[in-house]
Symmetry: C2
Subunit: 144 residues, 2 copies
Amino acid sequence: MDLALSEAHAAAKRGEVPVGAVLVQDGAVIARDGNRTREYNDVTAHAEILVIRQAASRLGSERLGGADLYVTLEPCTMCAAAISFARIRRLYYGAEDPKGGGVAHGAQFFRQPTCHHAPEIYSGLAERDAALLLKDFFQARRSS
Amino acid sequence: MDLALSEAHAAAKRGEVPVGAVLVQDGAVIARDGNRTREYNDVTAHAEILVIRQAASRLGSERLGGADLYVTLEPCTMCAAAISFARIRRLYYGAEDPKGGGVAHGAQFFRQPTCHHAPEIYSGLAERDAALLLKDFFQARRSS
């Protein structure tokens, strides 16, 4: 989760909403990135989607059944569905996102009958750091 | 919707699940594509996501507030969320998808409190053609 937090910090420096994600498989990092929606002009360029795409491209496989995802914020509904499609094994996330989350909030995608694979879910990792980073970012943006 | 159906036919010929999508703005097609999850080794390469990314890239804007999306199948939950994020104005879709849909089924994303923009929704356009195309595709795949 430290690596994911450093990706979130890097995203903040680029002026992006500070969320970072890391995919780990067999003890090795197979992809790491932060949110790049502004840089890419792409609403789908959330950290989770970017690492899933990168890892799938590198491994030559759509599905990442042995991979665990670390992300600093509760994934949104779009990302939750992508995590399911990619067959991610475990999901570790930091801060909760009551306004936009799709795991513990709103659609709670993994609990839907239309969800055909759900990862094991562990929340609250480095929650304070991840939440503080987001809070600082939005405070700075409002006051600038 | 005819263009979307022709993209779905083209997807079937590539061995992809036959779903096609077209984005229209001010009477002009700004992006059209079919599902390419296999070709790109990318679980997020649904037709809807591809046209949203293409249009955003071409127009240099994350948000596509004046654009209407035509898609042959009810969008899944991932695509419904992306449609919301991109601020698509109207969504027209063909066949219903009780197993994987995220608009009228399962998460029904546009009705969630975590959904901050919902398009106008029109369903059942060319429903029979779109559904038949999918049915034929899966029947052929099972028997091959």
